[in-house]
């Protein structure tokens, strides 16, 4: 059994195999693997006894349920107006340069994906970014770079 298969089996055991469990199961796969492969979606469909189209339909609706491969660390920089006013563009530029990718892309070593997000709910402490589930408010370019370097170091 592949890792993904075992993961899905565990998630189905934990959350049950009703349609209402679909979101927590997909979220559980993304938490471990950062994105949903076609194979994973087929397996989930089978386990819940619903069509694969239903699974893909749900997955493709949600920004956080990625259906294209992502890096180990997914960075989401808030781009909504207040963070815009507080300088999110500079943060994005600095990270693009540091990681040598553009927004929407993944580094060749699959360590980082750089994305933007709509309002993350920290407008009083912008600019702000989310890395996986962790939040980093009150960013400066220096601070953002330091955080990224720390992640790079820790996930080597």
């Amino acid at each position: 059994m592949s890792n993904t298969d075992a993961l899905i089996k565990n998630l189905v055991e934990k959350h049950g195999n009703s349609r209402n469990s679909l979101m927590p199961i997909l979220q559980g796969v993304v938490r471990e693997e950062r994105s949903l492969t076609e194979d994973a979606m087929l397996k989930v469909a089978e386990a819940l006894d619903i069509s694969a189209a239903e699974v893909y339909g749900t997955a493709s609706f949600y920004t956080f349920l990625d259906t294209i491969p992502r890096g180990k660390n997914v960075i989401r920089i808030c781009k909504t107006i207040t963070c815009h006013m507080k300088g999110k563009d500079e943060i994005i530029e600095a990270l693009e340069k540091e990681l040598n990718i553009n927004v929407g892309e993944t580094t060749s070593d699959k360590q980082f994906t750089l994305l933007t997000a709509n309002c993350l709910g920290w407008c009083h402490k912008g600019p702000v970014m989310l890395i996986n589930d962790e939040i980093y408010p009150d960013l400066t370019v220096e601070k953002a770079l330091e955080i990224i370097q720390e992640y790079a170091h820790n996930t080597k």
């Binding site: 979101m23 749900t58 609706f61 949600y62 956080f64 909504t80 107006i81 709509n118 402490k125």
Partner: protein
């Protein structure tokens, strides 16, 4: 025309206050009362929903209680996606027990056994702590022989899932596409069963009304806007943050307190709210009789381009529209492309009038509140800052 007298600026400390109020004791005291008495108290307090739409909370509870279908659900809407709003996160972080008690009292009042918090995926970092506290709370409920338990379901990054029927769809494992209304959640909500869905802040106020009594709550605010409200203040202000204030003050009073001395406009109610320019500050009341707000107050000073502000909002709506109905899916795109074309000189300034009509049509024809409310920012920004949009 006679206008209602605006209230003075007054800071209030009900939501975050935790010295005197032990949430679990509020529960204990109120479990001694009849469910109907609690509901009557909430109705009497005049509390209206703090999630944006402002429906009277007590009536919502009463309608759900009166339904015969079983089971019933209590849902806490913690999807908080409206740009400029960040108070629900702070409430869940600092006083979660007050939210839990509000849900339990609602469950007791309407006869529900299950409560669910729908927490936006962006707030997943709160999960660990919340789950720990819930475990303890659920145990406390069991000790009191109250047949009610609370769990958490996470969102996955979709603003539209804050809309109540889209939220139910999401909890049912589907795309977050809003349903037709009626039926309303009070009769057919989650799993098509009678459901009370309330905003995080609303639920804390129900706890506090049960603690302080409805009279105490009614002393605050105005006839149409009882009580206080938590505001999320951001943008060009030296003191961005979260403030609980009495409802009914004028926007002028608000700006005096929070502005940086150079405030040009305030976006009241987030991206889907209204933009108020300086000349109307004094005449605008913050409350249901004036401009209602879910709490988002974004302040802009004279260095800001209102074109950029509107452009950001339209991009937001274009991305977050669920795409289910044409007026909203195509309308948002057309409004965005439209102001870009006017800016570049590819369209004449008079095209803005056509776009305003489109926004107004969306207000009539769109299926849910997202598409319906795009006209609020669009028309208020274009009307008041036309030159900035054109040149």
């Amino acid at each position: 025309m006679e206008t209602a007298e605006a209230k003075n600026f007054k800071k209030v400390d009900i939501i975050f206050e935790c010295q005197d109020c032990k949430p679990i004791e509020v529960l204990d005291t109120n479990l001694q009362r009849k469910p109907d008495d609690i509901i009557l108290d909430i109705i009497d307090s005049g509390l209206k929903g703090r999630g944006g739409a402002g429906f009277p909370t007590g009536l919502k509870w009463k309608f759900t209680k009166n339904e015969s279908a079983e089971p019933k659900y209590v849902i806490c809407n913690a999807d908080e996606g409206e740009p400029g709003t960040f108070k629900d996160r702070e409430i869940l972080d600092r006083v979660p027990e007050k939210v839990f008690v509000g849900m339990a009292l609602c469950g007791y009042s309407i006869g529900a056994k299950e409560g669910i918090i729908y927490l936006r995926g962006e707030y997943n970092f709160l999960l660990k702590d919340l789950n720990k506290k819930l475990e303890k709370f659920n145990k406390q409920l069991k000790e009191r022989n109250l047949d009610f338990a609370i769990t958490i379901k996470s969102g996955s990054g979709a603003y539209i899932c804050g809309e109540e029927s889209a939220l139910f769809e999401s909890m049912e494992g589907k795309r977050g596409e809003p349903r037709n209304k009626p039926p309303y959640p009070t009769s057919e909500g989650y799993n098509a069963k009678p459901t009370v869905i309330n905003n995080v802040e609303t639920l804390v106020y129900t706890t506090m009304i049960c603690n302080l009594g409805s009279d105490k709550f009614k002393e605050l605010g105005t006839k149409d806007s009882r009580g206080s409200k938590v505001f999320s203040v951001s943008g060009d202000t030296p003191i961005a943050g979260i403030y609980e204030l009495e409802l009914g003050m004028s926007l002028g009073t608000f700006v005096e307190e929070f502005g940086d001395g150079d405030t040009k406009s305030v976006q009241v109610g987030g991206a889907s709210g209204h933009c108020v320019p300086r000349k109307y500050f004094e005449d605008t009341i913050i409350g249901f009789e004036g401009i209602p707000t879910g709490g988002s107050m974004m302040i802009f000073n004279s260095t800001r381009s209102m074109y950029n502000v509107l452009h950001d909002y339209l991009e937001f709506f274009t991305e977050e529209s669920c795409g289910q109905c044409t007026p909203c899916r195509v309308g948002c795109q057309q409004l965005l492309e439209g102001i870009e074309a006017v800016k570049k000189g590819e369209r004449r300034p008079s095209y803005l009038e056509d776009l305003k009509k489109l926004a107004s049509n969306m207000n009539l024809a769109a299926k849910c509140g997202l598409g319906q409310s795009v006209a609020n920012p669009f028309n208020s920004i274009v009307d008041n800052f036309k030159e900035e949009i054109i040149y």
